[in-house]
Symmetry: C2
Subunit: 335 residues, 2 copies
DNA sequence: GAAACGAATGTAAAGGATTACATCGGATAT
DNA sequence: ATATCCGATGTAATCCTTTACATTCGTTTC
């Protein structure tokens, strides 16, 4: 692998010219440019990124951490982010934190070490090691949050209106005639889970059904919904609203195990619209989030910060959509 | 952010000593070491990775590309890889190629550019741009394949014995009394799909049921199994063996849509044992792959290559396991 | 007591690209 | 014809760390 010096020698120019041909071609005469490019091609020269980023203090990389890479929800977000990053001349490094604060900090260190230019984290927790940076640089800190948000920290973020989405789900169930509704939330610490819960309670209260809401705290995983579902069935709910499709899957499984059927005996509604949701049995009614767009907008927000552009909107709210499939129907009582 | 020079000045030593304190502490007297470490801590000094990797020609990073990051199967492999990498002092960069050869090449360029020390690819296609490298460096090329393999290329790889696993699945169905069995494979180009098919045919032939096997070509995605399942049901099969759990999910969905029930009317068996497989309706019988271990071993293989250790086993075969759950049962005819 | 040794530390080159500044030569303006 | 300007290119400093080699000094050995 040749260096820029050898390329320069072969082309009979200085290293500065070679560098310019590659990064600011308009500054070089066409003659020289073609000659240099020919040498580059023949020799297979590729600039050394370490040297470049040492000199420029830019890594051209964005770190995207997800709390759980096995969650298909994040996969779509990642794709949207990668696309937007490519458009902006960055590449994305994906990190799986497994909800582990220690791992989060490890990844965050990549930012401190300048291994990456910016950080996007999907989840509710700003890595603790970045708090000082955030405090020092404020709006100029190259940190963006996706899906979740942490209002107190002032980190820009991209998400849907979770309360409204949740209200839509409850309205849908109430509209079908359900009066006793189970809700399986995310972990209490998650702000969006709290928003969703608030939205659900609001909607129920508006419908005069506050007491019909039976709330259980889950953790977004299928397993966590199993016990709650059994329990809610025992409470005679006719519908269950899960704050994730994975939990909805667990709920469906538990309903089947209880010898009941969805949607005949119990309706189920999920959240996220995973690619597989349409293949659930029955196909899942759920709230769709614009996953790829969330990824895309987080990157755009971050790139604006990196380029020193003062973005007008540091909190971006995208549209959600209620997707009605086969897992919700009128309760027996309303038929 | 201070540099090593400032740290050295503050501690009253040379930069060489600071560097040694950080990378070869045993070469430095305890006195000096403690003094330097104190300064490092107070100043918040973090070595600049670009400078380090420029000097050492090491990036301490491994690139792991997956053909489809939304496939939960790969998530577990990634986790295993990250753990093993951390143990060996490397970090993992995950790339999602979306089955796109162009994107594969883009990621492969990171290796050419020395942005990463090695490449692990999960999938059957060695990025074309790496063929020259592979040819030139042979066994010393820092490239490892996981899950799949490409025998012709001489790339070391880690996988299960797919033919044997597939035979186990067929044996299981035959043992239950099934005589007409549908098989939904992966894409024809995938070597492991071909292995699995060969194993299935072998097993069927041994049981004198070669003609009872009805083969359809899928692409591992749930959607691709839907039409095939409808078709196979029309062929009166009593069981369907899908080469991925996602396709099994599609099959279950199609079976339900056809007004039939699993396992009463049609048994279904999958492949991979995704975390969610146990929550399918009914819980899915499937072949478990040691996903995390595949990830771990690919990294270990790669690290051996990077350290110049001639690994004795360039093709690692791990154990699979048939997990029997509720989606397989005796066919009506055998009851 | 001189020689040899070894532990601890320092000096300085090297790694490869970018870019501010300098230079050169030809075109344009006066 | 001279002054000015501008486009194209070159020179060389700079980014920060690692490490081969050199140096220093106290200790051991004969």
């Amino acid at each position: 692998m040749p260096t820029i010096i050898e390329v320069a020698a072969l082309a009979g120019v200085s290293t500065a010219t070679v560098s310019r041909v590659l990064s600011r071609p308009e500054q070089v005469s066409e003659d020289t440019r073609l000659r240099v490019l020919a040498v580059v091609r023949e020799s297979g020269y590729v600039p050394n990124v370490a040297a470049r980023s040492l000199r420029t203090l830019r890594a051209a990389k964005i770190l995207l951490t997800v709390p759980d890479i096995s969650n298909a929800f994040f996969a779509s977000v990642i794709r949207g982010a990668e696309e937007a990053a490519r458009d902006a001349g960055y590449s994305v490094v994906v990190g799986d934190t497994r909800h582990d604060p220690y791992v989060e900090d490890q990844y965050a260190d990549m930012l401190s070490r300048r291994e990456v230019d910016g950080l996007i984290f999907l989840g509710h927790r700003l890595p603790t090691s970045l708090a000082p940076l955030m405090a020092r640089k404020g709006a100029a800190a190259p940190i963006v949050n996706g899906c979740e948000y942490s209002s107190d920290l002032g980190v820009p973020s991209v998400h849907i209106d979770n309360a409204a989405a949740s209200a839509d789900a409850i309205d849908h169930l109430v509209g079908l005639g359900h009066r006793r509704i189970g809700v399986v939330t995310g972990p209490e610490i998650s702000p969006i889970s709290r928003d969703r819960l608030a939205g659900a309670i609001d909607a129920a209260t508006r419908a005069n059904l506050r007491d019909g809401l039976h709330i259980r705290v889950g953790d977004y995983s299928a397993g966590s919904a199993i016990d709650h579902t059994r329990d809610l069935i025992a409470q005679d709910v006719t519908a269950i609203f899960c704050f994730s499709d994975e939990m909805a899957m667990g709920a469906l499984s538990a309903i089947g195990d209880a010898g009941l059927s969805c949607p005949k005996d119990v309706s189920v509604i999920g959240f996220d619209d995973l690619p597989l949701a349409r293949y659930f049995q029955p196909p899942l009614t759920t709230i769709a989030q614009p996953k790829a767009m969330i990824g895309r907008r987080t990157v755009e927000l971050l790139v604006d910060i990196l380029h020193g552009i003062d973005s007008p909107s540091r909190q971006v709210t995208l549209d959600h959509e209620l997707i009605v499939r086969g897992s919700t129907a009128q309760p027996v009582s309303a038929r």
